[in-house]
């Protein structure tokens, strides 16, 4: 599965994307955040603050309870600021 990071989360994690082998026990976006947080302490730090880390599964906004079954790409980013 491809994981992508944007804006200052990319700087915190130190990379824009990575390929991971999804462990069987990681079933939701929330599980994935926790699992990635163990690998990237500064990502865990950002996730600890409410509402600061948003997620998208295959280009659709997703909440923590969103299942990952069948997903190809999950992205994490701060609240958007375009326009």
């Amino acid at each position: 599965m491809r994981i992508r990071y944007f804006a200052w989360l990319k700087q915190r994690v130190g990379r824009g994307e990575e390929e991971i082998e999804l462990p069987a026990e990681v079933r939701t976006v929330g599980d994935l955040k926790a699992w990635l947080g163990a690998r990237h302490p500064r990502f865990a730090e950002a996730c600890a603050a409410t509402g600061v880390v948003k997620a998208a599964v295959d280009h659709e906004f997703a909440e923590d309870d969103r299942p990952l079954a069948g997903a190809r790409e999950v992205a994490f980013f701060p609240p958007v600021t375009g326009g």
């Binding site: 992508r4 944007f6 804006a7 600021t81 375009g82 326009g83």
Partner: protein, 150 residues
Amino acid sequence: MTVRVVDGPFDPWAELAAFCRGRTEAGAVASFTGLVRGEHGGERILAMTLEHYPGMTERQLARLETEARARWPLADVLVVHRVGRMLPGEPIVLVATASAHRAAALEACAFLIDWLKTKAPFWKLEETPSGERWVQARSEDERAAARWER
């Protein structure tokens, strides 16, 4: 194509001229243009870089357009959003709507920019004399978008 992401300068006035050329069925055209400001929060802005999420961006913008067309009788919609590095005074975004009805054009234009600000994956990085900083999301933007929820 009525929704575009461009990675270099664009001319919103030429876009609007083309949008209206030969248009005789919809007399009301509303537009919103966002320009890079030269100052923010008391600090001078030297440049602004717009990062985005290719693929998701186009999908979200197309969805915004679909939603606007479902809510208002629109003859046409145009959304152009620039990404990459740009300078103060340069256009970042253009939203334009055309309708036979003035209220529809104006409301749909406000809706599109309000939703774009909270639902399209763009992030602004400002360059100031004291360094770079990511722009914080504003709660006013969430409130502005919330008024269109139903």
